[in-house]
Amino acid sequence: MNKIKVFITILLAFNIYFSDLLSEEKINNQIYKNLRCIVCQGQSIADSNSDFAQTIKSVVNDKLSEGMNEKEVYHFLSEKYGDWILFDPPVKKKTYLLWSLPYIFFVIGGIAILFIFKKVLKHKKY
């Protein structure tokens, strides 16, 4: 049993070791997917055929070749078109609740469950 546990640890470590950030060739597509085509209905830049999407794609490519990283590209575009263009809402004052509420509810749920099982935990030994 212990041998297996050791094996699992090694393999997990191996998995973590091989995990890496996204490779660079994919970065353009990755960025397109995270941008809203603001003239379309609920489509991303990657999915849209519109002229607007074509323009944004070439802007993204230019900015990347100028040496901007992914975050800087998002920042640049949101300055120009507003946060509406980003599918990944940046963490700001107006989105604190958006990013924290799910976790807050999760913790509240956990506490509620603890409450149900409190009796059991108190009175019985395991």
């Binding site: 049993m1 297996i4 546990k5 094996f7 699992i8 393999l11 997990l12 191996f14 998995n15 973590i16 091989f18 995990s19 890496d20 950030l21 996204l22 490779s23 597509n29 997917k33 995270n34 809203r36 209905q41 609920g42 489509q43 991303s44 990657a46 999915d47 849209s48 055929n49 002229d51 074509q54 794609k57 507003g82 946060d83 509406w84 263009i85 980003l86 599918f87 990944d88 809402p89 107006k94 989105t95 609740l97 958006l98 990013w99 509420l101 799910p102 976790y103 509810f105 999760f106 749920g109 956990g110 469950i113 149900i116 099982f117 009796k119 059991v120 935990l121 019985k124 395991y126």
Partner: protein, 630 residues
């Protein structure tokens, strides 16, 4: 003529619903042990009238009676028969009529199936259900009557939006409605159960098949919607966390939670009130979703003609539903004695509910947050796939492990966590996953752990069923088999979605007719363009040849640009070569003022297996529904 008859059936249906409520209230006070035959007859009449009104509208569509405004606005004589039929629910008024038909159908089935059960509970359920029916009928009649006439009678109709002219989309709304609206019956039953102080266990037994039925249809409805999005919308995706998709997913989470906790309630008390809350919430969320979509607050393909009075009516109706439910809940809820053992089956089901609630709340927040933000600060933000992936995906990992471990535990008596049970399968799944990761050269950590967890879930269930079969002399017990099939389906779904997300390839090319473009592994040639005239549209078909340089395999694809006449619209039809393991997906669009065409070439692995996994999930539910010993 059709219009008058339609209006008559609607009025008759409203009257029967009204009388059903009155008679039920009267019968509540008498001492008979069963509801009277009169009530049953009335509920049959109600079913007949409501179905008739639907069939009348269908007839209007079939014979293209353009004196009916609804038919004029959404149909056309040249439309193929299938889309004349599906056109009935391809618009707000008709789909509302379908919605009411489902309400009435479930009311009738529930009432006749449980005729001999507790009378007070039966009558109260009937009353609540008919209040809903009446509410929606009045909504239909006052703001959205599909039988309104138009004069002078137009000679031709306006036609149906071409992207809605699709077989998958023809059956998508009825399936979803059976799910969405099917949940109304346990909403009514839950309120009735509280007031009649019905036994929790009996309530669980009575409502379980209805929860299962609605869950099955909801799952199928979502599946068909995704398939439609994949084939028709032309971006090669199948789920975009679009607010409208979300509003079908929220009830699904609730139904899934309910499905699991009802199993606990059948066996033991302690979570009756929670089950009641879930039952009430499911239908409430279904109506909320409809409100958000129909009022035009959310803008999407699902939004039909916007009309503020409609939104207002649903909002008032919804508030009335919520407040009266809260009132009934606090007035009548009994005191419960809760005691559970750690690591028993019920413990894990409660954990399941915890996760489902988390998923539901996240999706709900993501859907309504931008609306509130815009109203309060007039700032617009988008919440798309990255948000949901970031928050939800990590939580799938513990969920998958718990789904694997939970079903192996026993009711009530299990008290300890057994490491031995999981260690071998875990080892095996890490080995399998490592091989897969090396083969596809995959480097995303989160995806790797998701793969391990889903493989583990699949293995654990398959081995579990094998053991169960041996123990029961060759035949596994049906409930075990059903849950194993659904859980394996879910494991496969997460497994293939994860793999699909990291192995999909997409390329964007601008190309002239006759030109060839070379990519890393493929050569893509646009050979020529042909123009065809079809019955109600004109199409440009591109002949595209894809050469796989590794295997020398050639695929021919024919994406289309369609120009529809009624109404005049341009659509882009994807061309898909579908195999078990991988799809080739090509769309084509013209670039204005140039002879170039924009070709989007995508390789989408495991699409068919994603659909198949979802079907497995549904099959488990169906098996559970038809098995005698449920």
């Amino acid at each position: 003529m059709i219009s008058e008859f339609g209006n008559l059936t609607v009025v008759l249906s409203i009257l029967t619903s009204f009388f059903l409520i009155i008679f039920s209230i009267i019968e509540l006070k008498n001492n008979n042990s069963y509801p009277s035959i009169k009530l049953r007859n009335f509920s049959i009449l109600q079913l007949i009238f409501t179905n008739l009104s639907f069939l009348t509208l269908l007839m209007g569509y079939l014979i293209s009676d353009f004196s009916i405004e609804n038919v004029y606005e959404n149909s056309h004589t040249e439309k193929p028969l299938l889309y004349k039929i599906s056109g009935v629910w391809g618009n707000h008024e008709g789909s509302l009529l379908l919605w009411i038909n489902v309400l009435v159908l479930f009311s009738f089935l529930f009432f006749s199936k449980n005729f001999k059960k507790n009378k007070k509970f039966q009558l109260l359920t009937l009353i609540f259900q008919n209040i809903l029916i009446l509410g929606f009928f009045i909504f239909l009649f006052a703001t959205s009557n599909p039988f309104n006439k138009i004069f002078p009678i137009p000679s031709e109709g306006l036609g149906l939006n071409p992207i809605l002219q699709d077989p998958a989309l023809a059956i998508h709304p009825p399936l979803l409605y059976l799910g969405f609206v099917g949940s109304s019956i346990y909403f009514s039953a839950a309120l009735a159960s509280l007031i009649s102080r019905y036994n929790g266990k009996d309530f669980a037994i009575i409502s379980k098949p209805w929860v299962l039925v609605s869950w099955i249809f909801q799952t199928l409805g979502i599946l068909v919607g995704s398939i439609w999005a994949y084939y028709e919308l032309g971006w090669g995706g199948y789920w975009f966390w679009d607010p409208v998709e979300n509003s079908s997913l929220i009830p699904w989470f609730l139904m899934t939670a309910l499905l699991h906790s009802i199993l606990v309630l059948e066996k033991r008390s302690g979570i009756y009130l929670w089950v009641v809350v879930l039952s009430i919430l499911t239908f409430t969320m279904s109506v909320t979703g409809t409100f958000l979509v129909r009022s035009g607050i959310l803008n999407s393909v699902h939004t039909f003609a916007n009309d503020p009075t409609r939104g207002l009516y649903i909002l008032i109706f919804l508030s009335a539903m919520i407040f009266s439910s809260i009132y009934i809940f606090y007035k009548y809820s009994p005191i419960e004695n809760r005691s559970f053992n750690l690591f028993s089956k019920e413990f894990f089901i409660i954990i399941n509910n915890w996760f489902m609630s988390f998923f539901l709340i996240t999706v709900l927040i993501g859907t309504v947050y931008p609306i509130f933000l815009e109203v309060l600060t007039s700032q617009k933000i988008s919440i798309g796939p990255p948000y949901y992936n970031a928050i939800l995906a990590p939580f799938l990992i513990p969920l998958l492990f718990l789904m694997a471990y939970g079903p192996t535990t026993s009711w009530i008596i299990s008290r300890q966590f057994k490491t031995k049970k999981i260690i071998y399968n875990l080892f095996l799944s890490i080995v399998i996953t490592s091989i897969i990761i090396l083969t596809i050269n995959q480097k995303n950590f989160l995806i790797n752990v998701l793969l391990i967890a889903s493989v583990y879930l699949i293995l654990q269930n398959i081995i579990g069923i094998y053991k169960n079969t041996k123990k029961n002399s060759g035949k596994p017990s049906t409930p075990n088999l059903a849950s194993a099939i659904s859980h394996v389906g879910f494991g496969l779904l997460i497994f293939f979605i994860s793999l699909n997300s990291v192995t999909s390839v997409g390329h964007d090319l601008n190309i002239k007719a006759g030109e060839k473009k070379s990519l890393e592994n493929f050569d893509i040639t646009l050979e020529e363009l042909k123009v065809f005239n079809e019955k109600n549209y004109k199409k440009f078909v591109g002949n595209i040849v894809v050469l796989n340089k590794k295997t020398n395999n050639i695929e021919r694809l024919k994406p289309e640009i369609r120009i529809y006449k009624n109404p005049e619209t341009i659509t882009y039809e994807a061309s898909i070569r579908s195999n078990i393991f991988s799809d080739t997906y090509v769309t084509m669009s013209n670039i204005s003022k140039s002879e170039f065409y924009n070709i989007k070439f995508q390789k989408k692995p495991f699409m068919n297996l994603i659909w198949f996994s979802t079907i497995l999930i549904v099959l488990g539910g169906m098996l559970r529904l038809i098995s005698k010993k449920i």
